[in-house]
């Protein structure tokens, strides 16, 4: 036990000796959660609109003003023909064009007037969202009384969990998953491979410590660091990004701890299959970061993916963690709704830890 303790102390010294690395490891998550928590957003704001209005009457002015007044759009200028719209899109100066038919107001009784929204469709998601908002604003503005009663049914819309439709509620759990996974996996794998590369691992291996203890001693400091990171991330998410912690905090911490163990075991696994720091870095950055960003549901919803990719996403530890955090932290549901996620993460931890300990021993022989 004393042996183990002194090994842990050695690892802590390794980490704290290198000021720059410790700064990066503790500071990076802070910068990332703040930066990405605010910046990763799909909320429509200030879509630049060009107006093509040949009629210039009261009604078209009212519609244009209504569009401009909403927080989603800002009218940036008038154009006189469709070619200018195209040129604006190609330069990237405008995102949408609002085109009125000639003699708009006077032809309304005949039903001949209409509005066309020309969207820069290169980003289909933004184009659809913007077109939808614009359509409903135009609909409201052109009616005398802005009610929607057509067949007498009035829908009452209730937006659960996130009534202001803030993007942060969706993306913060994702960012948490990504940061924790990458920091833990990368830190552990690089620190172990580094000892291999510099040759100090041989010295450790001939010591009377059992290999499993060497590995565990390596994991303890990173576990402590990761848990510190987790706490700072949660505090920042709650008080800076104003993402609520609706569910049980203890449950959230336990799930996160489990995820940290999975990430550390993943790092351990990477370190057993790579020989150099560059390779370990590339595996954790490219083979782990890219798939995590794409397949974990962090940005792109898993249910939109084709079936085979949905299976692939099941192999991403971050997917289960993000799903669980969204449920516990944002929706505030109880433990019985996240049992699957916990089970899968537990299975992954056992599997990864088992496989890498086995591989590690093999290397000894």
């Amino acid at each position: 036990m004393i042996q183990f303790y002194s090994f842990v102390k050695k690892e802590f010294r390794h980490i704290f000796r290198d000021r720059r690395t410790i700064l990066i490891m503790l500071g990076m998550p802070i910068v990332q959660i703040i930066l990405f928590g605010f910046a990763i957003s799909t909320e429509l704001n200030n879509e630049r609109v060009a107006v093509l209005d040949p009629s210039h009457d009261v009604l078209t002015h009212r519609i244009t003003n209504e569009i401009n007044a909403s927080e989603y759009f800002s009218v940036v200028g008038n154009v006189s023909n469709a070619d200018e719209v195209d040129a604006g899109f190609k330069k990237g100066n405008i995102d949408m064009a609002l085109v009125f038919s000639p003699k708009y107001a006077s032809k309304i009784p005949n039903g001949e007037s209409h509005v066309q929204l020309i969207m820069d469709g290169s980003d289909p998601n933004m184009a659809t969202t913007a077109a939808h908002y614009a359509t409903s604003i135009i609909g409201d503005a052109s009616k005398e009384q802005p009610t929607h009663v057509q067949n007498g049914i009035i829908p009452n819309i209730q937006l659960l969990y996130n009534p202001q439709m803030k993007s942060a509620y969706n993306f913060v759990p994702g960012v948490m998953g990504m940061i924790l996974l990458l920091i833990c996996a990368m830190m552990t794998s690089i620190s172990i491979v580094r000892e291999k590369e510099t040759g100090t691992m041989e010295i450790l291996l001939v010591s009377p410590m059992r290999p499993i203890n060497i590995i565990l001693a390596k994991m303890v400091p990173y576990m402590v660091l990761s848990f510190t990171n987790l706490l700072t991330i949660l505090v920042l998410a709650r008080f800076v990004l104003h993402v609520p912690i609706a569910g049980n905090l203890i449950l959230l911490l336990l799930i996160s701890l489990l995820f940290i163990v999975v990430a550390l075991s993943l790092g351990l696994f990477i370190s057993t299959i790579t020989q150099t720091q560059v390779a370990a870095m590339l595996v954790s950055a490219m083979m782990l970061m890219m798939p995590t960003m794409f397949f974990s549901g962090m940005v792109f919803p898993v249910e939109n993916m084709p079936e085979p990719l949905q299976w692939l996403s099941c192999a991403m530890p971050a997917r289960w963690y993000i799903q669980a955090v969204r449920k516990v932290m944002i929706e505030g549901v109880g433990v019985r709704y996240v049992l699957t996620e916990i089970g899968v993460l537990l299975g992954m931890a056992v599997l990864l830890l088992g496989v890498s300990l086995k591989l590690f021993k093999n290397r000894l022989a």
């Binding site: 690395t21 490891m25 910046a39 190609k90 020309i118 049914i153 819309i157 659960l160």
Partner: protein, 354 residues
């Protein structure tokens, strides 16, 4: 003449490595084959749970109309609101629609009747758009004097939007980060001292490090264009020359950045953490996944210092919209400034003495 041998050495080192060449080949293929399918934010096939307390012709008609739309998939019928909420909490439904008792009677008498739509809005876009689509179907106002025309991406294909962006990421990784790791690794292993005592000029040394990765980067970029055409049938609307020109300037800028980081790091661990941090910030703040214009103003100012943002704009605008030289001159000029500044910094900060 020296440079020829140095480049030969770099290529030999690159191909001697058992891992790197394989990764350089597999990674772009994985990126082009798998990633575009996953990158999709369309609001479609939302799971809907209906709580029909009316059981009338009208409610049946409403449900049929909803099912006919491409947005919703009716996954369950439940008796009570609590059961419906349970479906949402368990993640089996995204929205629920509760039709009150006597709905048909109220409507036929011309009295206003309220129905409840509750949407899981953890994903705000999904909840907001989904509930408002559902509301417009329920209301029955599908006729509108507003028509929408989407230019450039006629089939609303998210893949067309992502494929050029992914090429930008590939170039970033291959031409910006690999050479930098290479320089630091020579530092850590100590072989850089051997180079330093030779008469090799520092420009030549750095150039010899960069050229192989540039070659690799451009080969990979070309492979990507072929893959995009072969798998998805995407060909650039604009001119390939414009894209390659943008790529040249961008690659210069990223290589410069990589060198700056490697010059200022003592160990590989430091270099890698800093690079990784830059990489994540660059990717997430480039507009690749979520548009730059959705960010708060201060974050948009930060993105101005992100070379990847300009390159993604260039490649997307040219590839998808067919923008020309003059349309993207601002982006190209910004990239040029980055390339100049970063490379000057790299050369100034590189010391041949240890």
């Amino acid at each position: 003449m020296m440079i020829k041998f140095l480049i030969e050495k770099e290529f030999k080192q690159l191909f001697r490595n058992s891992f790197l060449p394989r990764m350089i080949l597999m990674f772009p293929i994985m990126m082009m084959v798998l990633m575009p399918w996953a990158a999709n934010m369309e609001i479609r096939n939302l799971n809907l749970c209906v709580i029909d307390n009316d059981h009338s012709m009208l409610s049946q008609r409403l449900v049929n109309r909803i099912e006919a739309s491409t947005y919703f998939k009716l996954t369950s019928n439940k008796g009570t609101y609590a059961e419906g909420m349970n479906e949402i909490e368990a993640g089996r439904a995204d929205l629920l629609l509760e039709l009150p008792p006597h709905l048909e009677r109220h409507v036929t008498r011309g009295e206003p009747a309220q129905v409840l739509i509750a949407a899981n809005s953890v994903n705000g876009t999904k909840g907001g758009l989904g509930s408002s689509y559902l509301a417009s179907i329920v209301r029955g106002n599908t006729d509108s004097m507003v028509s929408v025309r989407n230019l450039y991406n006629l089939h609303q294909d998210y893949k067309l939007f992502m494929v050029p962006g992914l090429m930008g990421i590939l170039l970033t990784l291959l031409c910006g980060f690999l050479p930098a790791l290479n320089v630091v690794s020579e530092k850590e292993v100590g072989t850089i001292d051997q180079i330093n005592v030779t008469p090799v000029n520092k420009f030549v040394f750095i150039l010899a490090k960069l050229i192989p990765y540039w070659v690799v980067g451009f080969v990979v970029l070309s492979i990507c264009f072929v893959l995009a055409w072969a798998i998805y049938g995407f060909v650039p609307v604009g001119s390939l020359i414009v894209i390659y020109a943008g790529a040249v300037i961008y690659v210069l800028a990223m290589s410069g950045l990589g060198l700056v980081i490697s010059n200022h790091s003592a160990t590989m661990q430091q270099a890698m953490f800093v690079m990784w941090f830059c990489l994540v910030v660059f990717i997430l703040m480039s507009g690749l996944f979520t548009p730059v214009r959705c960010m708060p103003q201060w974050a948009q100012y930060i993105t101005m210092a992100n070379p990847l943002k300009y390159f993604i704009e260039v490649i997307r605008m040219v590839f998808v919209k067919g923008s020309s030289w003059s349309d993207i001159s601002l982006q190209l000029a910004s990239l040029g400034v980055f390339a100049l500044a970063l490379n000057t910094w790299a050369v100034v900060s590189y010391r041949k003495s240890a």
